[in-house]
């Protein structure tokens, strides 16, 4: 196993851990953090792609690096928006949870 494969596996592992957290953790803040883990995993994977796709004699393909930077900005904005919503929710309702009993309908009258 060479370094590039190990690097790629690390990225995949991060994605896996993040997905587990995103699905299983009920707290919104942990879901947000898990999303960031998945994002980091994807960006690492993109790094591997850049390394493997590099032309002869080059350290890496520069395009994925540019894309990763954009991706990080997008993920950062997403996190900021999610945290802002979470804070407002905490302010307005006193608790920060997603799992209210889905009260789309009151009990049948």
């Amino acid at each position: 196993m060479n370094a590039t494969t190990l690097y790629g596996l690390c990225g995949s592992l991060l994605i896996g851990i993040g997905m587990y957290g995103l699905i299983v953790n009920p707290q919104p803040l942990r879901k947000i953090l898990s999303f960031n883990l998945i994002g980091s995993g994807v960006f690492l994977l993109f790094g591997v792609v850049a390394r493997r796709g590099a032309a002869l004699g080059m350290g890496g393909d520069p395009v994925p690096q540019a894309l990763v930077i954009t991706g990080i900005v997008v993920a950062f904005s997403a996190t900021a928006l999610a945290v802002a919503l979470l804070l407002r929710l905490q302010e307005a309702s006193g608790s920060a949870t997603l799992s209210s009993p889905e009260s789309t309908n009151p009990p049948e009258a």
Partner: protein, 590 residues
């Protein structure tokens, strides 16, 4: 014209700069609204949106005249190094629909979202107009972007602009709905991004036209197709990934719901179409398309039945959106060429596009009408809507016309779409989709009949109106519904005239009657409260029949609640990736 050109090297075409203007205009509007602030936000939107409509028309004329895709290369750099903006027939139709719906929404919201006289700036109206422009900018980027990464960014912008629209009023339940929406959408976009990364790794480009040439049916493209399709479905809220849609769309103010339901979910749908038809038509298979169609069918049935079980009008309309999203995916299995080797641009795709346009206009009109009823009564309990038709006839007419348009009554866009897709189903021997296409209208009729019966019911005293609604808002809703109902006539240009039947022909009237009757039966059986008051229902139908129908309705409600749990929805997301991937791999080598 509708197929992306594969000419290499690509160059900016005449009129390509119009595409840049189309992106710059709404963004300039956003910045102007932010910096000018206060009540100027509305003025900016009121100027920018009509200008955008004119611009979209110019782009359309340019496209038809030149007869080929408009291209603009940013900075003159050609892909794969540069970024291209492209507008084909699909993009232009979506651009036009977007501006038309936004125009109506802006007129509708003109009075409801004005800054009060005595303050310089009020948060809600200021944010509404700024976000409206942001949604528009993001949508234009989705329709014009020529590579998968720009599309990713555009899609994220669309989510970021759409989510705050949900929680505009800042109530705890809408904040919760917005957060759920955001988190699930992020899950979807991360899957999409992963797929895009894999494609770049395998083919060294993300440009749509270049990828279409390079992509081959092999393991990596199968996985990428599965990841990207599933991620986009999560954002489109196709069943069973609709956990976020009903609370978000029902909780938002009516003008915002109209935008979210009519336009925002269409953004990610459009991307699925791009992916399947333009990026990897040689990779996806008919079996995978059948899966999409099957999920669409499930969405129609579950969404419509649960809509019938709703107590509140806005939730009913939100569930109807979920059902209508299902329709948009029936097009995929029908669009495959006769050999079944890949989806092609043809009658089925035209039908799907028409369906999007007619749904966008009708559903926006319907949400607006529901919002007006809510505003006028101070509530939207379906059981207490008696007398509304007399009090606000224009609004009820708008709702009824939107309902007819969604059912696919003769001159409506949905009718023509259904006709095109029925022909495609007939031509490819996929009779089961003909049943779904014909039967779907009955389900739609169900909830439309339910609402109309409720509002037409006369009450002893006139409906107590707490507020007078603006006449302009009512007319905006009515205009959208009417345009959806008359869409087939407008589409007569490119479509052969014999496709539109005489609406008064016995055959068409008979179909309409059957659909409405079927819908009335569904509403009679499944509605939460019996349609004509308790006694009439028991006499007409027999108590046991109604009881068993109600039990079925309750079972659907329960199933819906289960599927909308976070864990269930997100695990089914992963299962979907595995399913689509598995289907694609199993057809290899073909």
């Amino acid at each position: 014209m509708s197929v992306l050109p594969t000419l290499v090297p690509e160059a900016t075409t005449a009129g390509g700069f119009l595409l840049v203007l189309m992106l710059v205009l709404p963004l300039a509007g956003v910045f102007a609204a932010l910096t000018l602030g206060g009540r100027n936000a509305r003025r900016v939107a009121m100027l920018a949106i009509p200008a955008g409509f004119a611009l979209a028309v110019v782009i359309g004329v340019e496209l038809v005249q030149s007869g080929r895709t408009l291209v603009y290369l940013l900075g003159g750099w050609a892909p794969p190094l540069g970024i291209a903006l492209r507008a084909d027939g699909l993009s232009v139709v979506m651009l036009l629909t977007t501006t038309v719906v936004l125009l109506a929404v802006a007129l509708f919201a003109r009075e409801g979202f004005q800054t009060p006289e005595n303050v310089r700036e009020a948060r809600t109206p200021f944010m509404f107009w700024t976000l409206l422009l942001s949604v528009w900018a993001a949508l234009n980027a989705v329709f014009l972007a020529g590579d998968l990464f720009t599309l990713y960014v555009a899609l994220e912008l669309l989510t970021f602009a759409g989510v705050p629209l949900v929680s505009l009023e800042g109530k705890p339940e809408t904040l919760q709905a917005a957060l759920r929406y955001l988190l699930f959408a992020l899950f979807g976009s991360v899957l999409y991004m992963l797929g895009a990364v894999l494609l770049y790794g395998a083919y060294g480009t993300l440009d749509i036209a270049l990828l279409a040439e390079r992509v081959r049916p092999e393991a990596v493209s199968f996985v990428a197709a599965a990841l990207m399709t599933t991620g986009l479905l999560a954002k489109t809220a196709l069943f069973p990934f609709h956990l976020w849609l009903p609370p978000a769309h029902a909780g938002a103010p009516a003008a915002a719901s109209a935008v979210l339901s009519a336009l925002v979910v269409k953004g990610s749908w459009f991307l699925v179409v791009r992916l399947w038809f333009d990026v990897m038509p040689g990779v996806v298979t008919l079996t995978a398309a059948q899966l999409l169609g099957a999920l669409g069918t499930a969405a129609i049935v579950v969404g419509s039945v649960v809509a019938l079980r709703q107590e509140r009008l806005k939730l009913l309309v939100a569930y109807s959106t979920m059902a209508q999203i299902g329709y948009l995916f029936l097009m995929f299995p029908l669009a495959f060429d006769p050999a079944g080797s890949g989806p092609v641009h043809g009658a089925a795709l035209t039908g799907g596009l028409l369906q999007v346009v007619s749904h966008a206009t009708a559903k926006a009109g319907m949400f607006m009408a529901a919002g007006l009823i809510y505003a006028a009564l101070g509530h939207d309990r379906i059981a207490d809507l008696a007398g509304v038709a007399r009090a606000m006839p224009v609004t009820v007419l708008a709702f009824a016309l939107a309902g007819l348009a969604l059912m696919g009554v003769v001159p409506s866009g949905a009718y023509l779409a259904k006709k095109l897709m029925l022909d495609a189903a007939d031509g490819s021997g996929q009779w089961w989709w003909m049943i779904v296409l014909q039967g779907g209208a009955v389900f739609t009729a169900g909830y439309v009949v339910l609402v109309l019966v409720s509002v037409l019911r006369s009450s002893a005293e006139p409906a107590p109106l707490v507020k007078r609604v603006s006449r302009l808002s009512e007319i905006a809703a009515l205009a959208l519904s009417t345009s959806s109902l008359l869409l087939a006539l407008a589409a007569l240009g490119p479509v052969p005239g014999e496709l539109v039947a005489n609406p008064l022909a016995p055959k068409e009237l008979g179909t309409l009657l059957a659909v409405v009757l079927g819908g009335a039966l569904l509403a009679l059986g499944l509605s939460r409260r019996s349609l004509f008051g308790v006694r009439a229902a028991t006499e007409a139908n027999g108590g046991s029949l109604r009881r068993s129908a109600v039990a079925v309705g309750k079972a659907f409600e329960l199933a819906d609640r289960l599927i909308r749990r976070w864990q269930v929805a997100s695990i089914s997301l992963l299962v979907m990736v595995a399913l689509v991937g598995g289907i694609l791999v199993s057809s290899f080598p073909r």
